[in-house]
Symmetry: C2
Subunit: 415 residues, 2 copies
C-alpha cells in the first residue's frame, strides 16, 4: 500500500521519546511504499489542525540528534479522544486530514491515553472503510502499560532516580546531626519509578531507607514509626515516596495537606506536595529536621543520564512500528517481551491494542516487602538490565546537544 506516513507524539515527554521518533523516521526512509514522511506538531491536536511538517526537509544530523534530545521535539498534547459512537466529529475531521495528505500509515507514540486514541482511530478507519495502518509506539516513564515487559522511557528515569537517590543519600549522611530527607517521585498509579529508588540500597546498602509505592495503602502513623526507627539507628533517614500514595480509604496523601489537588482534563487527580506534607509531619512528630525534595520534571528530562538499553529500545520500537505497518499490521502496539534477563534479551512483538488501552500494569506484590515500606531484592533481576549501560551523549560547550528542527509546514495542495 503506497502512501504517506504520519507520526506524532503524545502525553508527557521522556528522556528517550525522541529516539523513537528517530527510529520511525530513519526506518521509514528505507521503504519505497512510504511516499512522504510527515509529523504532526503537538500530537493529535496538530494533526487535526493541519499543523503538519515534512520530515524529509530536516537535516540528517538533526534527525540523528533526536536520539539524545529529551522532551517531545515535535510537541505534545494530552487530548483524550471521545467515543466515536457518541461524538464522531473529530474522527471525521481526522479522516479528512488523512485523505488530504494521503496518509496510509499512522504511527502514534504515547502512553495509556495515546494507545486508547490509536485503538479508536484504527477501529474508526475500519468502520468507515478508510485503509490505514495504525500502530502505537509505547512511551511512558510510569511503566504502567499492559502487554509489554516495560516501556521506553522507564529505564532512563529509573537510572536517573537510582543515581540521584544514591547521591542524595551520600549528601544526607554528611552531617552528624542527622535529618530526614523525603524524596517525591513520579508515578501516579504505579510504583515502578519509585521502586527504582531502592536500587542503590539493595546493591550497596546506601540509598532510600524506606520506599512507599501507590500499590499499597499508606498509613501515616506507621510511616512516622518507621522513620523514627531508622533515625534512632542511623541518625539519617532517606525516604522515597510516590506522588500517588493513598491511604486505606483511597484518599491521596497529597490531599491531606489541604486543597492543593484538583482535576486535570483526564479526570486524574493532579498530584504534588506529598513530600512537603510528609517532611513537615516528620519535623513535628520526630523532632528532626526534614528536607523535602520533589524531583519534578527534572527526572523525566534527564537525557544526559539515559540508559543505553532504553535509548536503543525506544529507537527499535519506532523502527519496528514502521516495519509492521508496512507489512500490514493494524490496531497494534509494539510490545517488548523479555526472553531472558541474563543475558538480557528482548523481542519486539505487535500486541493487540484492544487489550492495552486503559489497562494499568501495577508493580507486582512479589517486589514489595511485607511491611509495605521497601522493595525486595528480586526486583533487581527485573530492573538492572534496564538501567545498566550509559547512552553516549554529544556535548558542546559543556552541555548536551539537542535537536533543532526546521519544522517546514506541509502544504498538501502542492502535492
Amino acid at each position: 500500500m503506497k502512501g504517506a506516513l504520519l507520526f506524532a507524539q503524545s502525553g508527557g515527554p521522556t528522556a528517550v521519546i525522541n529516539s523513537s521518533a528517530c527510529g520511525v523516521f530513519q526506518e521509514a526512509k528505507k521503504h519505497p511504499e512510504i511516499t512522504n514522511i510527515y509529523a504532526g506538531l503537538y500530537g493529535i491536536d496538530g494533526v487535526l489542525s493541519g499543523n503538519i511538517i515534512d520530515i524529509n526537509k530536516e537535516d540528517d544530523e538533526q534527525i540523528e540528534l533526536l536520539k539524545q534530545t529529551p522532551s517531545s521535539a515535535l510537541g505534545s498534547c494530552r487530548k483524550k479522544m471521545p467515543d466515536y459512537k457518541k461524538d464522531e466529529a473529530p474522527y471525521k475531521a481526522l479522516i479528512e486530514v488523512f485523505k488530504k495528505y494521503g496518509v496510509r500509515y499512522f504511527i502514534y507514540n504515547g502512553g495509556n491515553d495515546s494507545m486508547d486514541t490509536c485503538n479508536k482511530v484504527a477501529k474508526y478507519c475500519k468502520l468507515v472503510g478508510y485503509e490505514c495502518a495504525v500502530v502505537g509506539v509505547p512511551k511512558t516513564v510510569d511503566n504502567d502499560l499492559a502487554s509489554t515487559d516495560h516501556c521506553p522511557g522507564f529505564g532512563s528515569v529509573a537510572k536517573y532516580i537510582a543515581t540521584t537517590i544514591h547521591e542524595i543519600a551520600l549528601d544526607a549522611h554528611v552531617f552528624k546531626n542527622g535529618r530526614a530527607v523525603i524524596v517525591e517521585i513520579m508515578g501516579r498509579d504505579a510504583g515502578w519509578i519509585t521502586a527504582s529508588a531502592a536500587v542503590p540500597e539493595l546493591l550497596n546498602g546506601l540509598g532510600a531507607d524506606l520506599v512507599y509505592v501507590p500499590e499499597k495503602p499508606f498509613d501515616l502513623d506507621k510511616f512516622t514509626q518507621q522513620v523514627k526507627e531508622v533515625l534512632d539507628k542511623n541518625y539519617t533517614c532517606v525516604v522515597a515516596v510516590s506522588e500517588g500514595i493513598k491511604d486505606k480509604d483511597g484518599k491521596y496523601i497529597s490531599e491531606y495537606a489541604g486543597d492543593n489537588s484538583h482535576k486535570d482534563s483526564f479526570n486524574h487527580v493532579q498530584l504534588g506536595d506529598v513530600c512537603f506534607f510528609l517532611a513537615n509531619h516528620i519535623t513535628k512528630h520526630c523532632g528532626t529536621k526534614a528536607r523535602a525534595i520533589e524531583l519534578s520534571i527534572v527526572q523525566r528530562a534527564a537525557a544526559h543520564l539515559a540508559s543505553v538499553s532504553d535509548r536503543e529500545e525506544a529507537y527499535n520500537c519506532g523502527a519496528e512500528a514502521v516495519k509492521h505497518a508496512v507489512n500490514g499490521a493494524n490496531n497494534v502496539m509494539i510490545s517488548m517481551q523479555r526472553v531472558s534477563s541474563n543475558p538480557y534479551k528482548i523481542e519486539y512483538v505487535p500486541a493487540d491494542l484492544d487489550h492495552i488501552a486503559n489497562a494499568v500494569k501495577e508493580l507486582p506484590d512479589e517486589y514489595i516487602t511485607e511491611d509495605c515500606s521497601g522493595i525486595k531484592p528480586a526486583f533487581l533481576d527485573y530492573i538492572l538490565p534496564l538501567i545498566e549501560g550509559e547512552a553516549p551523549v554529544q556535548y558542546k560547550n559543556g552541555i548536551p546537544r539537542a535537536t533543532v528542527l526546521k519544522k517546514v509546514i506541509v502544504n498538501p495542495d502542492n502535492n
Copy 2:
C-alpha cells in the same frame, strides 16, 4: 619538619570535595616529612573529639574512587570557631590533640567559615608557639570565596545547572498551552550558580528566559511584568532564581511567603520556598499554570555530571596544599589565578588567609543585564572553561561507584 598530617572537611558538600581529599592523601604519601596521614571525621568537631582515622589503612582503590564520590566522605560540620581572645578553650583543646597525634600539618577543606577557622588556628598556633603549617583548601558551590578566580565545587554545580535548565526548558516547551516554570537555585549571597542557568539560553537560545541573582534588588511587580512579557511572546517562561534574592529593603523574598525563615548556627537566614511563593504569585497574577522546582541538594551532589576541570582542580588544590605546607607555607589558602581563558590556564598560588576569611566575592555588575533580569554574554568567557569537558565516571550495575572507607580510628597511645 617531620610530623603527621591531619586533614578534615567542613561546610556543605560538593560533587568534587572528595577529589581534593584524594589530592591531599595521594600527595602526602610522596613526602617523607609526613610521618602519618590522619583525617578527622565530621570536620573540626571530629578533630576536637579525637574522632580521627588513619588514611594509610584505606585501600588505594577506594582512595582513588574519592575523585568521583560526591558528598564529604569524611563527614562534615558547620562549627564556627570563636574568637580565641574571648574563648580560648577550643584552641587549647586543639593544640592538645595536635600534640597527642604529632600533627605538624593541618589541612582544612571548606568555604568562608572554614577559611576563618584556618586563619584563627594558624594565628593561635603562632601565639602559643606550636609549630604547625595550616593550609586551607577552597571549597564551595557558591563560588563566593575572595582571592581566587573560582572555587572547586563551582564548575560541577554550574555544569549541572546549565544542563538541567536546558533539559527543563526543552520539557517546558512541549505543550502548546504554555506555563511558567520557576527554578530555585543555591547561592545565598552570590549569584554565580544562578548565573550559570543563563548558559544554554546564551549559547542556543533555549534555557532560562529570566535570571534573578541576589546581587540586585528583586521587585515583585517588575518580575510579574517581565514574566507576562515572555509568556505573551513564547507561551512558556522559564525563570531561574537564586534562593537568596532580596527586595530593595534587604528583605528576603522567601520571607514574603510567611514565617518559614529562621536563623541557623551561623546567623545566616535559612532559605527556601522562594520558588513556591513566586509560582503561586504568577498563577494568581498571570492566569498561567506555574510549576516550582527547587533543585535542593541534588545540584551539589551530582557527581555523575562533574566538570572535568573542576574535578582536576579540586584534586590539584589538595595536592598543592600539601606541597606548600611541606615547603613551609602557613596561614594560606591555595587560590586559583586564571592566566588565560582561551586556551584555559590556571596557576595555583598560596593566598594570605587574613584577606580571605569572611570576605564574599559577588557576581560582578559587568555580567548582569541593566534590567537585572538576565546575564550578559561576557559571562560565557568566564564560565565555559569551568563547565566544558565531562569527568569520567565508573559505573557498576547502572549507577556510579562511590568510595567506601574503613575508617579505622587512630589510637595515639600506640604510636
